[in-house]
Amino acid sequence: MKTLNQTILSILCLQLFIGNIPVSQAQMGLIKTGTRVSEQLDSESSRTASELKIDTAIEAEQYVRETMNQNELFSQQCSNKDGEIDETRAFTLSTHISDEDMQIKNCAQERDKLYHMNKLSDELIAEYNIDVETPNCSQCSIVHHESLKEDSDATPPGEACSLADQMKFKKEPCNNYCLWKPAIAAATTGMGTLLVNAFTKGNDGCPKTSIVGQVSSCAMNMVKGLLKGIWESITGLAKLVWEGLKWCGDKVAKGAKWLFWDAWHKTEDKTATNIHAVSQADQKEVKDYEKDKEGWLKHKFNQVLDFIKELTYVGLFERESKCMNCAQKGQLMCEIGGRVASDVVGFTFTMGVGYGALKTAVTKLGPKLAEVIAAASKTLPKIKLAGKSTAITKAMNVVETKAKWIGKAVVTTTKPISKTVIKSWNAFKSGKVYAAIMKPKYSKVIDGIKLTGEAVSKSIPGKVVISTARGAKDAFGKYLAFDNRIMGAGAVTGANLLSSAGIGMSEFQIARMYAKLTEVAGASKAGITFDKKGNQVMRVPASSLSSEQMAQFNRAGVSLTEVSSDGETILRMSKKTFRDLKDGKFATRYSEELGVPISKDGTVVIKQGSQVTEKAVKTLTLEEVSKLRDQGAVFTTKEHPQAFKVLDPNHLQSTGIKVGEEGEIVVKNLETGTIQLLDASKVKPEEVKEWQKKGFPITNKMDSEWERPVSKLGVPEGDAINHTAAAKLQELRNSGKGEEASKIAMNDVEELHVIKPSEDIFGASQAAKDKLESLKKIQSKHLEGIEGSKAVETKYNPEKGLLEFETPDGVAQSISMKKSGNYVVESYQNGKMAIVKDIESGKIEIHDFTKPRSSKVTTLSKDDSILMNEAMGKTINGKPANIAALDEVKTNLELNHENKFRIIEENGEKKIQLESAPECSPKTIEIGSGKAL
């Protein structure tokens, strides 16, 4: 019988891949034992969905064998006498294929395919090796509930927990192992797609491929958060119980009591968190659960998915990203997604605030919530994972690349790969054919996810054959079966659940359809016309677009707007873009497309051994970048302090640490709790060894698992805005303009909404203090003069953590405060509402005592706080500006989240204005034509 835990795990995986069906039924189902993989992959395009049905999935060993066969076939037809590949030759699949399936391809296409096949085979072999390394990874899954007990008996009863056990427990390697795999897979496929859909909705004109790249990588945050919040909330309890207390429970020596306490806390935390979830399930839900546990879990995950969708569609993105470049947009989406997942979903869902309540909140307060999330995303600590083992690193790589590959084939590895095949594979790998095929080449599979659903659906009856979307559900199931094995869950359970899930398909279908579209080869004969706006319009037979052409078009800023009923793809572009296209200048406009950083002047600094060169990014191509990377080149920007220094790659070699691409290392100082970004060339090996002795984690910026160091500006290193600020500051400081640097720092800090007067903000702390002092004075003056509003005496009660005060009407009120601070409380509307301002930080909270407790506090956003700070110090046309502003803030938040408030002075008259992203589309609107004032 399936246990709940099995079900939970399966559902988790199902959720992770929602909207994310990465392979076709054909790919999964028709790959029968003994048939050639590639034949099946090729022949699927001529079939329709109704003709396809699941048969058996290919197994790992079979896949590896077939890969070798295909390589051999390829070698026979595509290699010249010197063993080099001649891509101009024709390639024919000549074995047992019926005439209707017979296809002739060129060797270049075949090479591309084999590249992926070889890669996956490599990964499968590697994965088998991982299995060997961690044969009893029982922590991976709660499914092994029973076996866990056996594992934990490894330490004989009554004996102290061995140091090895303690370390194993402390590191929790399998937790990471299990979390990362689906996270990466989902991030590069389903969740990414989901976000892309949300993203593209409000960001016309942004090259969509760029976004896809950003979002795909960044969506990992979201998935990680989602896993963290949801997985643990629903499944983690039993697991923790077994892994926590049981691990060392009665074996803890007194000297290691902390270990028990740590485990105890975790168990208390989980039971406390989960009991809230139980507490808020009504009778119907419990009955539903008892009646159909699988159905209940599906429902739960559907709720989460819907909720994520809600959040990503509420408009936060449109507003926040209005004036950001594509990279920034991607980053923002990532951050918002990550925060939504980990802090909103994880927290609220677990704590049983409930989907219904959340949905209401999102609907009503979407923009506001978005704002909070956006702000939180910049200030809250990043999700942390403990150090990873070699096996985990391997597993991550396996899944990451597999996720990209998954559009081509799915492999189930219910059986291990035999040693014979591993041996054969290793022999094959050392041969010329493999080396020739595996020369670096970019995968095109992921590049093309950018069509809208409508456009794709219109393309189906046309000339483009969309094969990868068929049978998605089943294929999804098969893939899960594969992943489940890694995670220790029952493959059959996962596949069954998935095949019946039927949720979230559309996003994936859209994405995969487009991915397929981009792979359709053939010559393009574009018909060119003009639309009413003077844009060039190209009508291209959809089936004739090569992936390279499509990628180039997109990089060039061409938007693929629709597909006509006769299967033609309509591409629109400006005249300039068209000229660029015509002149062939379209290859590399966007650095993110190439995966290289870009300097402010559009150049990139390339370091190759002792050579340092600077090139305009637009002159580079993917092929060149790939080649350079392959040759060991690193890319940086000229703004980077180390840009023109030639790195000595061997400098810290003796320490075994890996220096990042920009010559940096990141050290987590466990003694101070800080993370430092250091120039590796300035660090002595002895220092590194000292840190290593102390157990400090040392890594570099390329390791996504590590927290980025937080700069003095309060934002993680690597954020675009921080780069800009840092560059400005550096420049000014270098030129001796310290004061100006301070101002800029201050502005940036304000912009980032991380005012922390206690920090030394590049020497600007005094300026910050002055400004805050001035605000305080203005406010005091203001409070004396406003009718119906007055400052109240406040008293902080540290025991209760409450800020207590009395309203003008004599009504006792209290506001929960985390710590004692310098607060000003202003009440109005006869004490029904209060504005609480933290003088030091400038943070403002609005407490509405007329609302239910859970929703009575509103923390103002950065902009609104500034507005309120300003307004609290002014009387406008005899009226208390803060009240007017507050009302307008609230109205504005509900009506038009894109607008921002400003208080301006014109001809001696003060006005509150709504300013709508001036740098994007300049407009300023006076609220109510000034009547409100």
């Binding site: 246990t3 709940l4 835990n5 934990s152 009863p157 009554g158 909330s233 629903i234 499944t235 983690g236 309890l237 039993a238 119980v241 077994w242 926590g244 207390l245 049981k246 691990w247 429970g249 009665d250 803890v252 007194k254 009591k257 028990f260 306490w261 105890w264 806390h265 168990t267 208390e268 935390d269 989980k270 039971t271 406390a272 968190t273 989960n274 009991i275 809230h276 979830a277 139980v278 507490s279 808020q280 399930a281 009504d282 009778q283 419990v286 009955k287 659960y289 008892e290 546990k293 927290f347 704590m351 049983g352 605030v353 409930g354 209760k800 953590g801 929960s816 407790r853 859970s854």
Partner: protein
């Protein structure tokens, strides 16, 4: 004698909040238990990770009273609660950290209690009142020793609005928990 016992039991039951309770048998970990489930309470298995949970009726606040039972994995109570104040402080610091994470705050902590009742030879109880953005709650953790070997974790939660009525039911219900003798427990020596 039997009649007297029956009569006494009837009197006790009818005068308590569990007058209409039904007896539920269940297995958690390696042990079998019985508990009296109050009338109208639900007892889903493996709900949100709790092998067994007893959930009170729906209420206006949307926060039902719950008792969850999980195996702790630990087996030796002496070592678990052998450091007196230090253990208690550890519990408190853990709860404070949890509350901070969820933007809550503690209101008061119960003092640690070591008790026993028929069928449970040892029970260690800790509890506290706290406030979250969603309301005020009373939560208790009771570690009961079963068959002299294994420690089980009972956790209860009650919304403040229902403390007066439900805490009594929770108390009485928990005290009906009995750890049955198992074959395993009869054959395996305790680890103490």
């Amino acid at each position: 004698m039997k009649k007297f016992v029956l009569w006494t039991a009837t009197i006790i039951l009818t005068s308590s909040a569990l007058a209409h309770a039904s007896v539920k048998n269940f297995t958690v970990g390696d042990d079998q238990f019985t508990i009296n489930v109050p009338n109208g309470w639900q007892t889903p298995k493996d709900f949100y990770g709790f092998p067994v949970s007893l959930i009170g009726p729906d209420n206006k606040e949307g926060h039902r009273t719950v008792i969850g039972i999980t195996p702790s994995g630990a087996a030796d109570t002496d070592k678990v609660f052998d450091q007196g104040d230090k253990d208690i402080k550890s519990y408190m610091s853990g709860r404070e950290a949890w509350l901070e994470k969820f933007e809550g705050k503690s209101i008061s902590y119960d003092s640690y209690q070591k008790t026993k009742w028929t069928g449970i030879e040892e029970a260690h109880t800790l509890g506290y009142h706290y406030e979250l953005p969603t309301g005020k709650f009373y939560e208790r953790s009771i570690f009961v020793l079963c068959n002299g070997r294994r420690l089980y974790h009972l956790k209860s939660i009650t919304h403040s609005e229902y403390e007066k009525t439900d805490n009594k039911i929770v108390d009485e219900t928990i005290k009906t928990l009995k750890c049955e003798k198992t074959v395993a427990s009869a054959t395996k020596p305790a680890t103490k």
